[in-house]
């Protein structure tokens, strides 16, 4: 393939963007965020009109969808509006440009050069995995903070058991929005930014397998986010993040936003994981054997597997819910041959793997960072990867522990008790690896390391409390109470989000070439760590004392504990605010350049400059040893970044070489 080098251009790993080259024509004429928004608005208007035109009962067809007339709500119009809004959004972003080209028989360039588009590239559908990674990072922080603000709302309401800030309706809306936003969007909080950005660098690849799918996976997330938020003007949804029917079928139009957004995010998860899995399997550099794969890659591999296999069930379940709400099918209505248990099974068949989708990336980050800051090899590399694989596999066999009290199959309960307790064994591997790695180490208390250590502390509490929940008798008291709530906040917030923060401090110098302020980072860490534990530790007691989840009225004798929790949670919010200030201050205002390898890491991603060159590596590296050989005498460098010509060819298959020679 001809590679023309032009002045001022850089090579992009995924090939030229389908939305045109910067500099070619006016900026507003090229597809980007603004055209996407225009497309979305046109699409929504069209879909809404279509829904009204088609489904509203008329004199000719009075019986069809008569509920639209009596309920003053046309869910058809809203769902079709969302559907066409999505299509318009994607058309506007230029997502379909390449598909149309392909359908017309045109070839897509595999390689190419493109001018560095400055900030503008972050607002476009782009094939550069590093740009997608940054897009994800910013997106995820926005989503997290929005949902976090809603959590502040929840705690404000719970300051008093009798006097209310919000109406009960708004309170349940806030609870549902907070839960859903966190649970659906935070699935990609690590796989999205760090996975997409770093996996190719970590496996020594210049590209990803499916850059268009990767970019699409990101551009679905703002759509899902905004659709979910659009529930507020529609009256909200009043059934929490689990969306159990028949309550969710009964609810007003905000429920459409919930089901559409959650289903859409399921598709985004499928796409993101599809690309990552194939990339890791097929695009590893020569010498990057499975035994040398960084732990982070192992973790993302497990996460991707769970996403790819569980998310389709979620999207299917949400689709059924939408059908029940619009086309009047009866999947979940028992009088008409449906069953609410069907939804509970479908939802939790996704929902439990999802919990590990949220935990595993945390394991991955701490296992990745620990060796760097202990200056020691990872203790028990095989145990760690086996732990991740074990969690991945077992996560599909535990879902009915959410339904211990539901009245399904009482004879299956011991089995699910067993599988649930078994999953603590591979989880324990991660702790073994952590303790072993700290043994006789030279521990450096950098900010990322502090977050890793806090991860172990929080996840220890989260994990152990999970064992209580697996035990049917103990679960009878704890199920559906604040105990469960505290438990999964310890594993997700205390695990995943702490790991995410650690990852931010650790990898931002790599991803943006900018290091975050360390002093602020320490303040952020200590405040977050103390406030987090002060918020959620009392909630175990609150739950055991009998406070159910999602209530706005609680027993008066629990006021003190709830107030303590609420005030702590405000401090937790302040700590996140400090992070945001640090992030914005460091990346926008001060810009403390960091180009090298500040952590002296052996990770392959750190062997190239920061931020990495457009094409990741000058040449495809040849991996020579594992990533954690700290302190090993005469350990070869992790990779040969400039291998002699011919090494690559030697690794190719016979026919390939023969063909290439011809």
């Amino acid at each position: 393939m001809a590679i023309e080098t032009e002045a001022g251009t850089t090579q992009r790993p995924g090939g030229p963007d389908p939305v045109g080259t910067p500099g070619a024509g006016a900026w507003w004429a090229r597809p980007a965020l603004h055209t996407g928004v225009i497309g979305a608005i046109i699409g929504y208007a069209f879909g809404h009109w279509l829904g009204n035109y088609w489904a509203v009962p008329t004199a000719n067809s009075p019986a069809a969808y008569q509920q639209i007339g009596t309920s003053d709500g046309n869910d058809f119009a809203i769902v079709l509006g969302y559907t066409f809004m999505l299509v318009g959004w994607l058309i506007g972003l230029g997502v379909f440009n390449d598909l149309v080209k392909l359908m017309l028989g045109k070839r897509l360039p595999q390689n190419g050069h493109e001018a560095n588009g400055g900030v503008a590239k972050y607002f476009r559908f782009t094939l550069d995995h590093k740009v997608v990674g940054i897009q994800y990072l910013i997106g995820m922080i926005i989503y997290f903070c929005t949902a976090g603000l809603l959590a502040m709302g929840i705690r404000t309401e719970l300051l008093s058991p009798v006097h209310h800030v919000f109406s009960s309706s708004v309170y349940v809306e806030i609870v549902g929005e907070h839960g859903t936003m966190m649970m659906m969007l935070m699935t990609s909080v690590i796989l999205g930014p760090f996975g997409n950005y770093l996996i190719p660098l970590m496996i020594g690849s210049k590209r990803v397998a499916f850059p268009r799918i990767e970019a699409l996976s990101f551009w679905l997330t703002p759509a899902a986010f905004l659709v979910l938020l659009s529930a507020l003007p529609l009256g909200g949804f009043h059934f929490g993040w689990t969306g159990y029917p028949t309550l969710s079928v009964q609810d007003t139009s905000g429920a459409d936003a919930y089901a559409f957004a959650f289903g859409l995010m399921g598709i985004s998860m499928i796409l993101a994981s599809f690309n990552i899995l194939v990339t890791v399997i097929c695009y590893r550099a020569p010498g990057m054997r499975w035994g040398r794969l960084p732990m982070f890659v192992w973790g993302i591999l497990g996460t991707g597997t769970m996403m790819a296999l569980a998310a389709p069930i979620l999207s299917g379940g949400m689709y059924m819910l939408l059908l029940d709400r619009t086309a009047q099918t009866a999947f979940f209505t028992d009088n008409l041959g449906g069953s609410t248990y069907l939804y509970e099974d479908l939802f939790w068949f996704f929902g439990h793997p999802e919990v590990y989708i949220l935990a595993l990336p945390g394991f991955a980050i701490v296992s990745e960072l620990l060796p760097v800051f202990t200056r020691k090899p990872l203790f028990g590399y095989k145990v760690a990867s086996a732990g991740m694989i074990g969690v991945t596999l077992l996560s599909f066999f535990v879902w009915q522990h959410h339904l211990f009290d539901s009245g399904i199959d009482p004879d299956m309960r011991p089995l699910y008790m067993l599988t649930t307790e078994l999953i603590s064994i591979p989880t324990g591997f991660i702790f073994l690896v952590g303790m072993g790695t700290l043994w006789k180490a030279k521990i450096r208390f950098t900010v990322p390391m502090l977050f890793c250590l806090a991860f172990y502390f929080n996840f220890l509490i989260g994990g152990i409390s999970g064992v209580y929940l697996s035990d049917v008798p103990a679960d009878t008291t704890e199920h559906g109470s604040f105990f469960v709530m505290a438990h999964f906040h310890y594993t997700i917030m205390g695990g995943l989000i702490f790991a995410f923060m650690g990852g931010c401090y650790y990898w931002l110098p790599k991803m943006m070439g900018i290091s975050l302020n360390e002093k602020l980072g320490r303040v952020h860490f200590w405040l977050m760590f103390i406030a987090f534990n002060s918020t959620f530790l009392p909630l175990f007691a609150v739950g055991l004392a009998g406070q159910p989840r999602r209530v706005f009225e609680y027993a008066r004798n629990l006021t003190t504990l709830n107030d303590w929790v609420s005030i702590s949670s405000f401090f937790l919010g302040v700590s996140i605010l400090i992070f945001i200030i640090n992030f914005v201050w460091s990346t926008v205002v001060v810009r403390n350049r960091e180009t090298g390898n500040p952590w002296k890491s052996r990770g392959l991603e750190w062997q190239v400059s920061s931020p990495p060159p457009a094409d990741n590596f000058e040449t495809v590296p040849v991996v020579l040893s594992g990533p954690y050989e700290y302190g090993v005498k005469d350990a070869p460098p992790v990779a040969d970044l400039n291998p002699p010509v011919g090494v690559l060819a030697a690794g190719l298959s016979e026919s390939e070489t023969a063909r290439a020679e011809a």
Binding site: Q67, S169, V172, H238, F239, Y244, T246, L247, Q250, T333, D334, N335, L336, T340, T374, K376, P377, F379, G380, K382, D405, S406, G407, P410, P414, M417, L422, S424, L432, G434, M435, G436, L438, W439, K440, K442, I443, F445, L450, L453, Y456, F457, L460, I461, V467, Y468, S470, D471, V472, P473, A474, T476, T477, L544, G546, P548, V551, A555, Y630, G631
Partner: protein, 330 residues
Amino acid sequence: MAAETSAPATGAGEREPNHGMRIFIIWLVLALASDLLIWFVLGPHLPPGDLASAANGQQFDIKVMSAMAAPVMVFVLIQFIYSLIVWRHREGDEEDGPPIHGNTRVQVTWITLTTVIVLCLFGFGTYELVNGPGAGAGSGEGPSPIVNPPGAELTVAQQMAPYSASKPLVIQVIAQQWRFTYRYPQFGGFETTYLAVPQNQWVEFDVTSIDVIHDFWAYQLGVKADADPGVNNVAYTKPLQLGSITVRCDELCGLWHGAMYDYGSVMTQSAFQSWATASQAHFADVTKMLPPYATTYDPTEIKQLGTVLVKLGLTGAGGGYYPPNDPSQP
């Protein structure tokens, strides 16, 4: 964590102390202390108390789990804190740590130990579920429970047989947005909003819903069972002491879920019987209007619907969500 605290640690040049033994001793002391604390001091006060057999069983389970978990937690914490203090990075030391890639003995021990603990917990949990004092641990077991107390009544005919103190008392819990009502089939099937149960007698809760999913949580009785439309979810408990009961809905059921709670009490046998007989008389008028006692109800099909209502186009108490030619219109 104790990262920033400076504790005396052995200098680099001195003889390497036996870290394992130190950690073991600290662990032994703390683990023993915490277990004793959990078992004897905290244990009797653990939720959900001991008002009823199921609650008692849950309290015991939580106690045992805590006693099992504490040593594990203490071990991990000590290991971490010890490492962070003793092996923290010293100023000026730029060397890497020792290249320990793993230790087969440690790994095998850890895996074996965690597996044994987990399997023990599984065995314990299953035993408690099947043979423990709670008969099904007080959780909802669906229409055909595997664990039943003696004399459990699962058919409508059995449940409607007159009350006898030697058989379980049957209480049907009907959940609706946003209130629980309780039906006593052994007392002519009267329905009330007050939950009264007798002391020292098995109580069988038949939990169902006539709209969305709710969850019947009688905290002090140790009973929790989802109320699903069209499903009879059975849970058992045996009140052991007199006292009051708080009932909360434990599954988000719409706007007023947070306010869906009520109170009840455990009474002596005689007090209960006189309460029940009095209630039966008090509610006699409304009892006649209720549908015949059944394990589940379908208000979308009302057999005795009045002629005016039928002429108005109504077939039952539904919302008319589904089109009129569907078999049912919930």
